[in-house]
């Protein structure tokens, strides 16, 4: 009896202690959540109460994973730096799951996910990987279809307020099987950048009109871009005693010179077919598909990688780099070239990533006014001579959460919670303001973004316009991105450094792609595996409708320019 009494007392004590522990813990944890909401997660499109409820859901869902250490990796841009430095910390305090969010170069991310898949080495629990790899992922059989995961084994760790329809770039991570493989975490486009202050100077406008016969304004086609490049480099030459250039680019042999082309340069020239997101049956890499199977990249197999339009694209790149850009640009890579326009001597840049917006609006820069507004603007990119309405016009990508099947389920679930946390409505507007890589429609349409718009040089206007639909990532015609993408950096620099002609380089590129597609065709078991067309005389394909297109008699039609506001409307 005495023993029983002792047991009963012990039990009561245990229950009391447990109660006190949980209430204290809950109270403390709720205080932590409220502190994060008040001090960091503002502004938000949610009310504070809605934010609290969303965070409480995370706290509850994370309970089985408390104490785990989860590892993720992403490329190095402001948005991910914010996640790694601030949001990972918040997530740990709110959920008890420790996150190691590594930041590295994009090329390294691709190498790592490729190594993980090929060698079965579980390097990370989830990757923030460009949706350029969607063609690789949906074919590989190694990547978890998130749409299945959310309905199946991951249902209890899927945020009820995730609101997938609110993501602008959801289609980027969706395979031809209509399954979602990659959830956007950040997205940015490649647009045209120009010095609005110089373009509005009357003396420059008059001089330009006198030389070229039309207005100095936002170029709609490459002819106008080329004229403006020549105008600033050779006719204006100096502004306030400083040498200025009408173009900026980069040409060093480096993986990043590959992105300069694979990030849809050929689409801007008009290489591919009509249709979005990438052109069908021929996409902007010049790869033709039959149903979902790639059948060739060279013109002789029905592709367009060495078509006249592709040669035109490379020729223009080479000519402008050597003639109109600062001489040092030839030896620069992507990162080195990225900061040059901010130094104040570049008039325009045809290939400019909006992910650089944050570094272009810092006070004190020569390209920023004293009141904090930029002297520059971004606008839709001009298109080449082969481009027609209804075609893709440029590159936009979404660094997206990607989950591999080989990672243990418990770890995948914990990582999925972090992935959803950093894209949740509670944090996404603040993240957008910090990194300027919007992913949610609700964020871009928010009042806060309206207020911020004058300081962002046209970013908000672009994302609110229908023009953004014409900017898309690499598509599903590319069956293995890590295998095929080196084709670009292995061949393009030969034109710049070795004096190969543009035609010779694109022939080499097309052959490289065909050879790799042939190797992939041996993997018949893979869904939508390549199956090469038999070679035909190029004339056959050039006579067919669509891409590959025959050489135009005039690759430099008259230049067209428009006022900035019109530049967004013409694509609607």
């Amino acid at each position: 009896m005495n023993c029983l009494h002792k047991q009963s007392t012990f039990l009561k004590l245990f229950i009391l202690c447990s109660f006190l522990f949980f209430t204290t813990h809950t109270f403390a944890n709720n205080t932590v959540i409220k502190t994060w909401i008040d001090t960091e997660f503002q502004p938000s499109t949610l009310t504070k109460n809605q934010q609290l409820n969303e965070m409480l859901w995370f706290k509850k869902a994370a309970f089985p994973f408390i104490g785990m250490e989860i590892r993720v990796v992403s490329e190095r841009i402001h948005t991910h730096w914010y996640e790694a430095s601030v949001l990972a910390k918040a997530f740990r305090e709110i959920t008890g799951i420790n996150i190691i969010h590594e930041i590295t170069g994009e090329d390294d991310v691709i190498k790592k996910i490729d190594t993980h898949i090929k060698k079965d080495i579980n390097l990370y629990d989830m990757y923030i990987n460009d949706s350029d790899l969607i063609g690789t992922h949906f074919r590989s059989g190694k990547v978890v279809a998130l749409s299945d995961f959310m309905k199946g084994v991951g249902k209890e760790v899927t945020l009820p307020t995730l609101d997938l329809k609110d993501f602008m770039g959801l289609s980027f991570g969706t395979g031809p099987d209509n399954k979602l493989y990659q959830l956007p975490d950040q997205q940015f486009a490649n647009l045209y950048w120009y010095r609005a202050d110089w373009f509005s100077r009357k003396d420059f406008k008059n001089k330009f009109r006198k030389i070229y016969g039309y207005e100095l304004n936002v170029p709609v086609n490459w002819s106008a871009y080329e004229d403006i490049a020549e105008f600033f480099t050779f006719h204006i030459k100096e502004i306030d005693g400083k040498k200025v250039y009408g173009h900026m680019d980069y040409g060093k042999k480096d993986p990043s010179i590959g992105w300069r082309f694979s990030d849809a340069w050929l689409s801007m020239a008009g290489v591919g077919d009509m249709g979005l997101p990438n052109g069908l049956p021929v996409d902007e890499w010049g790869i033709r598909v039959q149903d979902c199977r790639p059948v060739g990249a060279s013109v002789s197999r029905g592709g367009a990688a060495n078509s006249p339009a592709a040669v035109y694209a490379l020729s223009k790149f080479d000519k402008w780099l050597k003639k109109y850009a600062p001489p040092e640009a030839l030896k620069m890579n992507f990162s080195q070239a990225g900061s040059v326009a901010a130094q104040g001597n570049i008039a325009q840049q045809i290939f400019w990533y909006t992910a650089f917006t944050t570094s272009m609006i810092q006070k004190g820069l020569p390209v920023v006014n004293k009141d904090g507004t930029p002297k520059w603007r971004m606008a839709p990119s001009p298109h080449g001579a082969y481009w027609e309405k209804g075609m893709k016009l440029g590159y936009q990508d979404a660094g997206s959460w990607t989950m591999l099947k080989s990672v243990p389920l418990k770890r995948r679930k914990a990582a999925w919670l972090y992935a959803q946390f950093v894209v949740s409505k509670t944090v996404s507007l603040k993240k957008t303001i910090v990194g300027l890589t919007p992913i949610r429609i609700s964020d871009i349409n928010s009042e806060d973004m309206t207020k911020l718009a004058p300081k962002l040089g046209g970013l908000v206007e672009f994302y609110r316009s229908k023009a953004r639909l014409l900017w898309t990532p690499t598509g599903t015609n590319v069956p293995n991105y890590p295998l095929l993408s080196p084709a670009w950096w292995k061949t393009v620099p030969k034109v710049i450094e070795e004096g190969l002609s543009a035609k010779e380089a694109m022939d080499e590129l097309a052959l490289y792609l065909d050879n790799r597609l042939f190797e992939l065709s041996k993997m018949n078991s893979q869904k939508c595996a390549p199956l090469l067309n038999k070679k035909r005389h190029p004339r056959y394909w050039l006579q067919q409708k669509g891409s590959p297109k025959p050489k135009l008699k005039n690759e430099k039609p008259k230049g067209i320019t428009v006022e900035y506001k019109e530049s967004l409307k013409i694509y609607e």
Binding site: D120, G141, P482, S525
Partner: protein, 300 residues
């Protein structure tokens, strides 16, 4: 003999001839001796022995490609491999900057870079950004140095990490960044108690060949390396060293034999996930994948 069988015989002769030429060219390639440069990086390489050397020896044993290992200073080992045919260097960290300078076989090791302080230091570092206020010790010429400088951090360099840990002990700086396994090795050797605050970055260490090395050699080695990961050979070598050194970080990433997955607490070997989606995984094409693997690492 009818026309059909004459045609068939010619066809067979042509195919046989092509096969013989192919075999001869492969044999010729395999007959060449490759010089593999390396540098002191204990416990990966120490007095011509070590973890990386064991992996390389096993790899070449599987391929029958002839080789010799030469130890020299790190910088020279890299530049020689860039300039001289039939030369390679290991175990170097694969990076975007180095990508176009070599042809790659890897990863022979998956390693991590950590941020360390003396164990007695009450420094509180939760995320990388917390370290920005401090000067950080790092080995000169290392990939870590490039990484830190890329963030504009204030670094203090020394030729070897052995000197860095001594500087940490002498409180000339409060933080030191190094490969976690090398750091652990020096901590033991110098009997200095250190504390890892965070993992900064995972790196893939590789065997990097001169850019004009024949593709067949690279494909052959990459295929053999993949096999070593899948059949558990890499894990076995790592396990051998785990008795002597704290190499937990490298072991976490390396799977045991694919047929016997381990349930790891870290993002380690194929485990739960593999079992769950084994139907997808079981899809045919494993051997095709193996063939593609070599190609992928060659061109990728």
């Amino acid at each position: 003999m009818n026309k059909g069988s004459v045609k068939m015989n010619k066809f067979v002769i042509i195919i046989m001839g092509m096969l013989i030429i192919n075999l001869l060219s492969i044999n010729k390639l395999l007959a060449q001796t490759y010089t593999l440069n390396t540098f002191e990086a204990p416990p990966y390489v120490e007095n011509n022995k070590g973890l990386a050397i064991d992996i390389i020896k096993e790899l070449f044993k599987k391929t029958h490609i002839k080789y010799q290992i030469k130890v020299m200073p790190q910088k020279r080992s890299i530049t020689t491999a860039q300039k001289k045919l039939q030369t390679a260097v290991f175990p170097i960290q694969r990076s975007q900057e180095r990508e176009v300078q070599f042809k790659w076989v890897g990863p022979i090791l998956v390693t991590q870079t950590g941020l360390f302080s003396l164990a007695e230091d009450n420094l509180h570092i939760e995320v990388f950004k917390d370290a920005f206020a401090y000067e950080i010790l790092v080995a000169r010429g290392s990939a870590q140095e490039d990484y830190l400088k890329g963030f504009g951090l204030n670094v203090s360099t020394a030729n070897y990490d052995y000197q860095n840990i001594k500087k940490l002990k002498a409180k000339r700086a409060r933080l030191w960044t190094a490969d976690t396994i090398i750091a652990s090795y020096y901590a033991n050797k110098t009997n200095i108690d250190i504390k890892k605050h965070i993992t900064l970055i995972t790196t893939l260490r590789a065997l990097a060949f001169h850019v004009d090395t024949p593709d067949k050699v690279i494909v052959e080695l990459n295929n053999a390396l993949t096999q070593m990961y899948k059949d558990g050979s890499i894990r076995k070598i790592l396990d051998k060293y785990s008795k002597k050194f704290n190499i937990e970080d490298a072991i976490k990433a390396a799977p045991v034999a694919a047929a016997a997955p381990v349930a790891a607490a870290a993002p380690a070997a194929a485990g739960e996930g593999k079992k769950e989606e084994k139907k997808d995984e079981a899809a045919a094409g494993k051997s095709e994948e193996a063939a593609m693997e070599g190609l992928s690492s060659l061109f990728g």
